[in-house]
Every structure is written in structure tokens, then in C-alpha cells.
Symmetry: C2
Subunit: 466 residues, 2 copies
Amino acid sequence: MKQEERDKIMLDRKIQDELRAVLGEDGFFVDPEDLASYSYDAFVREFTPDAVIVPRSTEEVSRIMKVAHREGIKIVARGAGTNLSGNAVARQGGMIISFTRMNRILEIDIRNRCAVVQPGVVNLVLQKEAKKRGFFYPPDPASMAVCTIGGNVALNAGGPRAVKYGVTRDYVMGLEVVLADGEIIRTGGKTVKNVSGYDLTRLLVGSEGTLGIVTEVTLRLIPLPQATKTLLALFSSVEEVAETVSAIVSAGIVPTTLELMDRVIIDVIRDVGGANFPPNAAALLLIEVDGDEESVEKQGQKVAAFCRERGAVQVDAAETQEEADRLWQARRSVGGAIYKVTPSLLVEDAVVPVSELPVMIRRIGELSKKYNLKVGVLAHAGDGNLHPDIMTDVKNAEEMERVEKFIHDMYEEVIALGGTLSGEHGIGIGKEKYMGLEFSERTLDLMRGIKRVFDPKNILNPGSFL
Amino acid sequence: MKQEERDKIMLDRKIQDELRAVLGEDGFFVDPEDLASYSYDAFVREFTPDAVIVPRSTEEVSRIMKVAHREGIKIVARGAGTNLSGNAVARQGGMIISFTRMNRILEIDIRNRCAVVQPGVVNLVLQKEAKKRGFFYPPDPASMAVCTIGGNVALNAGGPRAVKYGVTRDYVMGLEVVLADGEIIRTGGKTVKNVSGYDLTRLLVGSEGTLGIVTEVTLRLIPLPQATKTLLALFSSVEEVAETVSAIVSAGIVPTTLELMDRVIIDVIRDVGGANFPPNAAALLLIEVDGDEESVEKQGQKVAAFCRERGAVQVDAAETQEEADRLWQARRSVGGAIYKVTPSLLVEDAVVPVSELPVMIRRIGELSKKYNLKVGVLAHAGDGNLHPDIMTDVKNAEEMERVEKFIHDMYEEVIALGGTLSGEHGIGIGKEKYMGLEFSERTLDLMRGIKRVFDPKNILNPGSFL
């Protein structure tokens, strides 16, 4: 956007005063140094917002939205800014709503197995509070120590445990939502079953902040599994891993996690001293099973046998929590390790049917060779969700052209295999241009129509995938 | 509707010929005797359609919808007509699409743990086919031996197993849909994770045939549990049962089913000789647990102990499949038994948070006394889903007035307790007038807006809850 256009939408004094009156001095920011820290998220592009507002209540969000709607000010809701698709930045200017002050767990209701939380609650905080009471909130995005439930709902966040436990959508029972014009509605509630009217709850989950501002979330909790067992299997080829995963899935075994890492990732971790792998380890599968004490032992042995039969060069099973933590260390150190060897990292997010995992991994290898790029593959393999990690430098224009081509070809292949553009990161800025690969123009028109019903002035996270 | 109005929308000869050309003589019916059997469903009201069409393919559905859209002919999709909310009848005339000829299981894809089916596939047929391959399709509406997947999707059908395994929505991965104007779109696919664009799949599930005609469904399958254990606990009061259920749920035990029957139902079954209960049995809880062999034994013992601690006068555990069938017999005989003692049956469908189950059951008892009605309570108690069975005579106008008042007061109480108007039967004809209890006018406007986006001419199951 050109500077003249930006100036036009900058907030005039009168509106600033009006918003400040709602939010107080400590809830409204327009100073460049304050705005700077809200100009980026975990995606690679930066946009400085015109203001940042930090409401304390649904009531304040509603009052702000009334002003924004009247004035046509764009609004982007933001949790911890960990998202990888550019959904927490003000692409077209306007205001960022930050939920750092709406971060309370309002209730953990054991009798109805649910929690009622504000959007700014950190995922791991909720997990820990539920655990104290013997209950479990399964969705575990990699950023769970900082990312918020509001962001999880907006992006329908998943994580390693999704293979057994599903994604955020599967846990959202009800929402309180402030609409574009400030009106407050509620959807769903504390009942698991609900077929009354259209399912607005699940329409809002994963809508990337484009349909409404979520101000309260009712989440289903499940009983905490008694025991967990972690295994690490090393293979001499990624194809063997992919075949093993496919075999485990079709045998009807449901591990809690089935995390795959390929040779590129393993080498990076080895190079930065993140873990000690034998030299013939070219691919790795990190497996967790959970359940009753006895069933966990059995499942573990079954999975280990599967791995050995399919060529694993080494299978380690953790006997203690410390050993489990050691096995997880490699997986957890990936992000940090990669940033030590590359200036920029693009984490892609694609899903293929599990049966196509071997094909897709091979294809990613071919494409990275073709475009001469360093691409590692991490995958939540059990549900066919691949995260190709493109190690690049966004300042290298020539390389970025090759990156673009690689990404395009990759998603073309993903769709050809019956997959989808995103499993858990969302479309956002990065992938809007590929929507036409997955959806017909008519389907996109239906989505645009829904957007207009909720947000006729197009002020909620505009410039998104629609 | 008056006869003059009906005549206006009757199909003219030219359109009849056009439709017959698409469908063939054996796919298009306008004779009164053919129409008669499509004039009712399991709800209590009858409406004769203008025509019944029986397509063989998505292509044919698309061609029919093009004609219907052009001519403004109303369309109601129908599976087996077992639904209890009046959703499978032509309330405003027009044509019924029957899916009896689109009843093939197209694929059971074990590698991706899913099935691809046409809408006319009978639920139990799919369950059996999946079971043969060691897999499980859990949704089990009471009518599963005849009801179809298309109807299950339209109403988001549940069933006894929903307490552990969820409802139809939790298994729908993808859809093929013919839109109101005949265009064909696809949503979702064979991937479990998908956060690409708005979740049209789950918006369509439970939309009661108002947004599109589903012509193909991709359903998730899960591994078949190794073992099942059935228990029947008899109590001397329904309050004890409700408290037991609430205690089981908050203790973190997840039985597969937790079916409750109150004294009225038990007496009916006893009277018609459907089962032999001791005289002090005033309420019953039918429990099923599943999982590994060992875990099933343990769970069964735990649940039995819970029941005894809370006052069960008798707890029977089935040791064989025959014994389990015998325990289920009472539950399965309810429908038949009730029709022996009453001319008409209204099966209501309400959900409250599980913690409110004791309150709600008490309240239903009070209301049936107040309005002098015979109302039995069946409940999928584990998820707070109540089916009050109103035994009445729809031809008795005076009694029907009291029935109306009872239903109104009951749903008012349900909503006051944080519940919802429908857990698995849908809104349809019966409950449209109560939508204002659960939803604000604004929320209903959003739903109406969505309806207009999908069906601007309002030809799909019109006169529904919007």
C-alpha cells in the first residue's frame, strides 16, 4: 500500500480520543515503538498497524467494534502472534486487538467436562490446570507454551496429538463472539450434542478472524490417560518411515503421536549438537502411545515390532519420564536448530491422505533438488500433515523466486493427491494465491457470501483468503 | 395451504416431461398412490408432494436441480423417512428426492481409514461392512437398521454411543453437494485435518437439507474396539440414576453408552410383557463399555460399583453376547411397546449440560403432572440428551393443547439450564417456533443470511427453521 493510502486510514484525533475513553491510557497504543512489536508474527512479512488496543472485557470489545464499524476501520485480532500464515498482522492497516488482558480461565467445570476461557489464555496454562483436576485438553501446537486459545480457535490449531485426539475444532463446544458491528452473540454451550440451527460454532473455528471476534470459548475436556509411552525409531530412509506409518494406520493402531523427521532435519540437529544420532539414521519416527498402564505396554511393543519389521535400524523405548523427555528433545530442538543454520525459515503446512505420504515425501525431495533448495521435512505423519521447512533467506530475491516455484509445485501435487492446502496453520497471506487449486470459483463465492453476511463492510482481517 | 395454491405449484405437463426425460419412467412419480407413501415421516404431520423423483447419479440430481431452480420448484431430500422432526416431507409442496437408488458404498479405504458412500446407504449396512474389515462407524441412531447416511448427515444424527464416540459431524470428512442451482461442489476430502477456507463440510452437516443436496459422503472410520461389556442397573428412583450418571461423568469414566429409562417407560414395557423387571425397579441404566479385554473388565467393575454405591437395587453384567442382547432387549422394545398403549407418540429431543440432568428430569415429571400427560423419559444420559416420549392422541384437540404447553414449558426450562433445542433430531417443523428461546434475532439473521447465500430462491426444504 502506498503512503498516501496509509495516511487516509490513519486514525484521526477524534476517533483516537473516543477509543482511549473506552480502553484507558493503558489499553490504547499509537506510538511507533509500541506498534513495532505488533508489526510481525511468525510469518515472514511485516505490516505496522495504526493502533493497538488491549481490551479488558467483551463489553469493551463490543464498544470498540461499534466505533470501528461506523468508521470502517480494519480490525485484526491477535493472540501471541505465533501463527505461521500472516494472520496476526494488519495487512491493510487498521487496529490490532490484543487479548493479553483477557487471559483468564473463567471456569473448569468437571461435572460437564469443560472449561470456559477467555481468548488470551495460553494453551499450556489450560492444559496444566485441566491436568491438576485429572482432565486433558489435547490440542498441542508446537507453540503451546505461548500461543493462546483465541489464536488456536481462529486457526483450528492441531499438533502432534491430533492423530489420536483431533484438532481444536473437536473441542470447541461454544463461543461468545463480537460481530463486526459490535453486537454480541453466543453459539453452542456446555452440551456436547447440538443440532439446533446451523453450526455457527464450527463455522467460526478456523475462520482466521474474518467472521467475528471471539471473546469467550467453551472447550471440552476429556479424562487424562493413565499412562504414556514414548518410542524413538531410527530408519535408514524416509521412505521406510512413511511406509511404516501407513502400515500402522491401516492396522488400526492409534498412537497419540507419529512424528516424522527426514535426513535434512536430522543433519541440522546433528550439526548444531542438538542430539546424538547414529550415522546411518536418515529418518526418524517419534511415537507416543497412551491409555491404561497395560494397554500402553502392549501398544508400545506392537508399534516397536512394526518399526523393526519395516527396517528400523534402532528402536528406543523410554522407561522413565526423563528418558521420554530425552527422546522428545530432538523434536523440540528443531526450530532453534534450524535458525542456527539459515537466516529465514518458511514452515509450510500441507495435508495428504495418509496413504499418499510416501509419494508426497518423495516428491518434496525431487522438487527441492529441482529448485536447488534446502528443505527439511517434519510431519505429523499419522494424519498426513507435512511441514516442509524451507531454509532460505528472504533477502535473496533470486532464491525466493525458486522458493515460490517450489511452493507452487508442491501444493499442486498436494491437491492432485487429494490433499488440502492447510492442516493447522491456515491460509492467511502465504497461500491465498493457491486457493484456486483446491476450490472451484463457485465454492469460493459461497465463502465470500458467508463473509459478507457476517462482515458486510469487510473490516475483519481483510485481505485474507477471500 | 389451500387447494388453489396447491394447484398453482403443481407441476405442469411440460416440466413433468422434462424431468421424466432425465430420470426415466422408473425414476419419476406423480400418481397419488405413489405420492402417498412419501407424504409422512416419523413426525406426526402429513403433506403430499407434487412429485417424487428417484435419481441414479449425482449428474441426474444436478440436472433436476437446474430445472427446479429455473422453475422455482421446492425440493426436499429424503432418506428412509425415519426422522422425527418433519424434515423429510414436502411442507410447501414440490418434489421429494428419494435416494433409494443411490445406495452404494463406493469405497472402504482402510489405508486412509475412511468410507466413501452414496447418501442412500443404510447406516447399519455401513457399520457391518466396516466391521468385516476390523473398523468401526460409531453413530448409531435408534433407526440405524433402516435410516440412511444422507439423512444422518442432514440431521447430524447421534445415538447411544455418542457419549463416547460423538455424532455424525465428528465422522464426516468430505461431501459432494449439488447446490440449489444444480452446480456440483466438493468439500473436504480424505484428510482428517483441514483448515483451508471456511468449514463448509460441517456447516452442511445438520443443515436439514436447506443448503444443498448431499450426493456423496466421505466418513471417517476408527479401529473396532476389541471387547464390549454390557451392564444393566435398576434403581428405585430416577433421581438416583441421574445422580449416578453425573458422578460417572465427572469421575472421568467414559462408557460407550449410558441409556436411562424412567418408571413410565419401564411400566409400559412391563405391561406389554417386553421384559421382566423386579417390582421395585423405577428407573434403569443400560451401560456399555468397550476397549481392550482387560480394560473392559475393569471399567465394568468400576461402573457397577458406582451404581451400587448410589443405590442400585440390582446390577446385572452380561457374560456372553446372548446375555448382552437380553439386557438390550428392554431398550430396543421401547418404541414397539409404547405404540401398543397409545395412539400417537411424540418423541422430543432436548439436551442439557449433564450436571443439570437430575434437575431436568425432575422438572419433566412436574410438568407432565401439571398438564396431566403421560410422558416417559428415555435419555442418552451421558451427554445430557433427553428424549421425553409424550404418549398422546393427535386427534384429541384438547389434549394436544396441553401437549403444546408442556413442550413449550419444557424447552423454556431446557434453555434456562444452558441446554439446546435439539441434540440429534433437528428443528424441522416441530420446534421452529422455539428457535427464539435459544437464539437472538441477530443470530437467526446470520443463519438466514447463510441460507440466502446457498439458496437465494428458497427452494431447498423451505419452511424449515429459518
